[in-house]
């Protein structure tokens, strides 16, 4: 009798047989998908508890629920508050009290309305806090920085765009947080040489230092480059760093691996030579948008670092043929080269550069408009290990060259052929790159469904496909992609005017789909959208702008099924108040764009705004600004939502859409705009 009761009991609670360790393993496997995790924890009380105990990282949607969330998840180590725009001192106090001892990292980069008092609470209570991200705290002053200095065990600190910080605050942090390893001070425009110098003197463990856009001179770099473990130094846009201040610089920073000196307008070859003089082990060098011409002389300043250099970025520089040739012969271990927007690059230069670079993995020649098939052929034949090739707007490159790329570089994973002359034959050759994961074919007017079907058959790993304005594509091509590429996460079919609901229905098979952009597809209706909404559970970004047949019923389905939606654009659609208000059902919705949507009334917009608790950015027509109550706007702004008021001169809507859909006309317009 007793035994029977026991058995009965066992059957009623079958999970008691599972050991906790096994459940933890299951949880790790399930954790990929948040909704799976949710249903797991709702299975039974025990699972609920185990899940709560096992979970280490949290990304709450609302700061108001922090007390409850943190009481449930007592072992929280990583707390990402980037979904919570308004984090008050009280909330930080709650965090400090409930998960003080376990907490290791906090992300407050997108939150505001906390003050020094709340931070002090956090710093004092969370004794093992290792990482804190305070970026974008534009109102933060030195007093708050002095409080951060109380977190003695801090190793990673981000203070990007804390514009009101000065040397004094950084000084406090430098003295207080001696264990700092990674520090980002990007855009802290109040911090100068003294603060950075003190940081370098006091925190000897610094591995990575981001000093981008700081008003520093070369003076503090003397101290910075004495750091024994410095691996990464970012000096992007430091206009004060000039040749003269670096003249006396001698250092032996052999740990330095990554140097970003891009946009340093006053840094020329002379200063760079002394900057690189002691960095013998440098692997990555970024000199994008520097003022000096990349000539033979310039290449000679790379002498000291040439042996180990693996990556060089020369975006937007005036590049000479000789310079590229010298770099090609000097730095033979280069794996990544970026020449994006170097308008002076010629076929000869690029050919000389890549000739000896057998190891080249990544090449970016975006907008090098002078290049033709000659150099691309050279790239294809001398760099068989190429993984990434970005050649947007190299419109002189012949169709044969693309065939050769697919033929020679079988390891390609990332391809950007936006605005190129590639055709179906090229795509057929590229489809032999089995590991291709990102393919951008925007404004490729020569490709058709046939080419896409090759891709669909060959590249089963494709994650991202961009078909923006590739007007030769119809439902057939899309369906072959949907058939073959089941891992597709991002697809852009904007302005592909022949796309209908059939494409959407076939795309709904791609259950991993996260980003779907179908701007300006006039045949798409709510039925297609419903198919996507129901089956693509991970959908987070949706662009439905200028899809006139999208209306409230589409949004109602979205509101019901796509609980993960973060961003939606319903500008110039048939959406009315009902649809917009229904979006309030989606908890993590952050961005809404609803410009020129005729069915919207001020009260409907107001209701939707109040309803969506997590809104960060709303794009509305400027006329609504005066129609919405100012108290509502103030309220929304205080919740952390910013408004963008758009004022398009909305002349004859249907005609402009037609004009936009005609690729020839659109390109002509674009070129006119550029010339202007």
């Amino acid at each position: 009798m007793k035994k029977a009761k026991q058995i009965q009991h066992m059957i009623s609670k079958p999970f008691d047989l599972l050991s906790e360790e096994l459940v933890f393993i299951i949880l790790d496997l399930v954790a990929q998908n948040p909704s799976d995790l949710k249903s797991f924890s709702l299975t039974c009380k025990w699972f609920y508890q185990v899940e709560a105990r096992h979970r280490r990282s949290l990304k709450p949607l609302r700061a108001e629920y922090l007390p409850r969330i943190l009481t449930r998840y007592r072992n929280t180590a990583d707390l990402d508050l980037s979904f919570c725009p308004r984090v008050t001192d009280y909330a930080l106090s709650v965090v400090g009290c409930l998960s003080g001892p376990t907490l290791r990292s906090v992300d407050l980069s997108r939150s505001f309305s906390f003050s020094a008092a709340g931070l002090l609470r956090l710093a004092v209570k969370c004794v093992s806090l290792v990482e804190i991200d305070l970026s974008n705290a534009t109102e933060m002053r030195d007093a708050a920085a002095a409080v951060v200095a109380e977190a003695k065990s801090l190793e990673r600190l981000k203070l990007g765009r804390c514009k009101k910080l000065t040397d004094m605050g950084i000084g406090c942090i430098a003295v207080g947080c001696r264990k700092l390893k990674r520090v980002s001070l990007k855009w802290c425009v109040g911090v100068g040489d003294l603060g950075v110098g003190l940081l370098a003197v006091k925190c000897k463990d610094i591995r990575s230092l981001d000093l981008s856009y700081l008003p520093i001179t070369g003076k503090c770099l003397h101290d910075v480059l004495k750091l024994q473990h410095l691996e990464e130094l970012l000096l992007q846009g430091c206009f004060g760093v000039d040749d003269d201040s670096l003249k006396s610089l001698t250092h032996h920073c052999n740990s330095l691996k990554n140097l970003d000196a891009s946009s340093c307008q006053n840094l020329t070859q002379r200063g760079l030579t002394s900057l690189l003089s002691g960095a013998g082990c440098l692997e990555r060098l970024d000199l994008a948008h520097s003022s000096s011409v990349i000539s033979l002389d310039f290449a000679s300043s790379l002498n000291k670092v040439s042996s180990a250099l693996q990556s060089i970025r020369l975006d937007g520089c005036a590049v000479t043929c000789d310079g590229l040739k010298a770099i090609g012969t000097l730095c033979i271990s280069l794996r990544e080269v970026s020449l994006s927007k170097c308008v002076t690059v010629t076929d000869e230069g690029l050919s000389c550069l890549v000739m000896k670079l057998k190891d080249l993995r990544k090449l970016d020649i975006t907008c090098c408009r002078k290049l033709t098939g000659v150099s691309i052929t050279q790239v294809a034949s001398s760099c068989p290990l190429l993984v990434s090739l970005k050649m947007e707007s190299c419109s002189l490159v012949s169709r044969d060259a693309f065939w050769l790329i697919g033929h020679k570089c079988r390891l390609l994973e990332e391809l950007d052929f936006t605005d190129n002359e590639i055709d179906d034959e090229g795509l057929k050759s590229i489809s032999s790159c089995r590991s291709l994961s990102s393919l951008k074919l925007g404004i490729c007017l020569n490709i058709t469904d046939r080419g896409l079907s090759y891709i669909g058959m060959g590249c089963s790993n494709l994650r991202e496909l961009d078909l923006y304005r590739s007007v030769g594509i119809t439902d057939v091509g899309i369906s072959s992609i949907a058939q073959g590429c089941c891992h597709l996460e991002t697809i852009n079919i904007s302005y592909c005017k022949d796309i209908t609901d059939k494409s959407l229905v076939s795309l709904s098979k791609c259950s991993m789909l996260q980003t779907f952009e179908s701007r300006g597809c006039p045949h798409i209706t709510c039925q297609g959208l419903a198919a996507i909404a129901v089956r693509c559970k991970r959908l987070s970004k949706l662009d439905l702008k200028k899809c006139p047949f999208i209306n409230d019923s589409g949004l109602l389905t979205l509101a019901h099924f796509s609980q993960g939606l973060k961003q939606i654009s319903v500008s110039e659609t048939g959406v009315t108040d009902v649809g917009l208000v229904s979006l309030a059902n989606i908890g993590c919705l952050q961005n809404i764009a609803a410009v020129n949507t005729r069915g919207l009334s001020p009260s409907g917009v107001a209701a939707a705004l109040v309803g969506c608790g997590g809104l960060r950015k709303v794009k509305l027509h400027a006329s609504l600004r005066s129609l919405l109550p100012s108290s509502l706007i103030n309220h929304m702004e205080a919740r952390g939502c910013s408004f963008l008021w758009k004022d398009y001169n909305n002349h004859n809507n249907s005609n402009t859409l037609q004009a936009e859909l005609d690729p020839k006309y659109w390109k002509l317009q674009l070129e006119e705009d550029i010339e202007l």
């Binding site: 001192d89 002053r141 708050a144 109380e150 406090c172 603060g195 309220h635 205080a638």
Partner: protein, 436 residues
């Protein structure tokens, strides 16, 4: 009038005699204000006359068996000739009075008295300047050679200029003289001047004889003929026990009279000048006050140790040098918490006040932590959170503990007013009501 040559011999002796006598007199007469020095001067001059028959011998036994040595005849000579000159001036004045048939009116009497006083003061100063050299001799041993050696040992620790002892001559002014507003007086009208050049300019008004180039020349250059190099003059502070006093073990002489004046006022006088800006800093030398007032309020760079700097780079150099020192956030933006932290940062150098503040702060947060962590169920705890949070604000408002040495009263006032703790983002307060 005696010839210069004759004087040389006499003056050596005069100086010795008079000098050793004056030491003793001075010790007694220090407290007396006006009359005593007067007498003493005449005594000194008389003793000088007594012994004017003796030769240039150095070791002459004088008062109470103190052996004085003429180790520095030239300087003595110079001093004495100066004194003689003064006495002649006094004589001239008395002749002047006699020329008026002794019929002095009150005004004239006052004038003469003033003249006399000024001369007397001059005499005292000269006499005072003779003192150190004599006293030195008294301290040292009998033999002139050995004296030299001992002195050297004594002054080993001297910093700054390394003058070998004996290579300079030590003068010691008296307190009254140091504090006198004027050091140069007109022999005719008695008007006082700070600089002798000013006096010479003034003298031109008293007659054509003062307008000659010789009369207008700088008098300090008049040296005794035949002596190529004058001994360097150094000064001693009359305050006993002072390092600048010649009796001090590690005596460091002062370079000029001005140094003496400033030193004496700075170290041994009340600081009577108060800064009109901060009303805190006090000075005894008016020049110091003026210098301070020029920079007062500009020392905005504070270190947690209480040191202020007028330049930010100096502060950062200081912080880079010392462990545990933190920049103290300027007061205009000091919020309580920050102040608390900077206060805590100054662990090494906190005074009692400071430590007390620290402890109370720590206790506050620690107890809160215990409370909160010991309560297992915190679901309904909005109120308890508020409670747990509020001690912080009261904590941080408690700024009595700020080191007084660093931040003066005005600063404390500012802090307490800043304890209202405005939130970082401006528009919050109004909004909190409306937020759902």
């Amino acid at each position: 009038m005696r010839t210069k040559n004759m004087e040389t011999g006499e003056d050596d002796l005069c100086k010795n005699n008079w000098g050793s006598a004056s030491i003793l007199d001075y010790e007694m007469a220090r407290e007396d204000e006006e009359e005593e020095p007067n007498l003493h001067v005449f005594k000194a001059s008389s003793s000088c006359q007594d012994n004017n028959n003796n030769g240039g011998q150095a070791s002459v036994d004088f008062l109470q068996g103190v052996k004085a040595q003429a180790w520095d005849p030239r300087t003595m000579l110079c001093n004495l000739s100066f004194m003689e000159h003064k006495i002649h001036e006094l004589q001239g004045l008395v002749h002047l009075i006699l020329g008026r048939n002794g019929q002095l009116q009150d005004e004239q009497r006052q004038l003469v008295t003033a003249d006399l006083t000024s001369i007397i003061i001059q005499l005292i100063s000269t006499a005072g300047s003779l003192l150190p050299s004599v006293k030195h001799h008294n301290m040292s041993t009998t033999a002139p050679g050995s004296a030299f050696h001992e002195m050297k040992n004594e002054d080993d620790a001297e910093e700054g200029e390394n003058l070998p002892p004996g290579s300079y001559e030590i003068k010691q002014l008296e307190k009254e003289e140091i504090l006198a507003p004027h050091t140069n007086f007109c022999t005719i009208c008695g008007k006082g001047f700070k600089r002798d050049a000013n006096l010479r300019m003034h003298m031109r008004g008293h007659g054509d004889e003062y307008k000659t180039p010789a009369a207008l020349a700088k008098p300090t250059k008049e040296t005794v003929p035949g002596s190529e190099q004058m001994l360097v003059k150094r000064y001693s502070c009359p305050f006993p026990g002072c390092k600048r006093n010649k009796d001090h073990k590690k005596f460091q002489p002062l370079k000029t009279i001005l140094c003496v004046k400033n030193h004496y006022k700075r170290t041994h006088c009340d600081k009577s000048f108060t800064c009109s800006r901060c009303h805190t800093k006090k000075f005894s030398v008016i020049a110091d006050l003026k210098t301070h007032e020029k920079h007062c309020g500009k020392n905005k760079w504070l270190c947690s140790c209480g040191t202020t700097f007028s330049r930010k780079d100096k502060l950062f150099g200081h912080i880079a040098l010392f462990q545990g020192h933190t920049p103290a956030i300027p007061l205009e933006e000091t919020k309580p918490s920050a102040a608390a932290s900077s206060q805590r940062g100054s662990s090494g150098c906190g005074n009692n006040n400071n430590n007390a503040g620290m402890v109370s702060f720590n206790l506050g947060s620690a107890t809160n932590a215990n409370q909160e962590t010991s309560q297992p169920c915190f679901m309904d705890g909005k109120i308890s959170f508020e409670e747990s949070f509020s001690p912080l604000s009261s904590d941080t408002c408690n700024f009595g503990g700020f080191p007084r040495s660093i931040f003066d009263d005005s600063f404390q006032m500012l802090i307490s007013s800043a304890c209202g703790c405005s939130p970082i983002n401006g528009g919050d307060g109004s909004v909190s009501d409306t937020s759902v």
